[in-house]
Symmetry: C2
Subunit: 87 residues, 2 copies
């Protein structure tokens, strides 16, 4: 069944303590070269049947109204996952 | 600065109560046509300088050892975000 992937990230001006903690911990694993980490969310919506423009609109509405908090988060992308088999 | 995006999802056989709650709530928003929702994580690693194969290897190591729990999660992708300006 097709899957729509919704990606949500904290807005750039919002502090992200989880990302910060990861960024600080990476050097302890010997991993340098990264100046920052931001943690967001990724949703996979399984679609019943075909992905029509109407279904994509529903997914965009879900992303804006349920999957993200518009005060602190941006919806980075709403896209069909073509060949993914992770859902 | 270039950004490497790491995507992590719960393994298919692992229960995902957050995703389930979202899937159950979508019809209340008038959004039908979705049979399931899975919630995972999305990380943006900001790279200092150029993205070399070595930096990508570091990102893959971070994804496997710090950004995901291999018992319950799969690393779905580790990729360079070409034109993204969200970090």
């Amino acid at each position: 069944m097709p899957t729509i992937v919704v990606e949500v990230m904290p807005k750039p001006e919002i502090l992200d303590p989880q990302g910060k903690a990861i960024a600080n911990a990476l050097p302890h694993l010997g991993l340098t070269g990264f100046t920052g980490v931001r943690q967001g969310k990724r949703f996979e919506l399984t679609v019943e049947g075909e992905v029509t423009e109407e279904v994509l609109d529903s997914a965009r509405k879900a992303a804006a109204e349920m999957l993200s908090n518009p005060v602190i988060e941006d919806v980075v992308s709403v896209a069909v996952a073509e060949d993914q088999q992770t859902a």
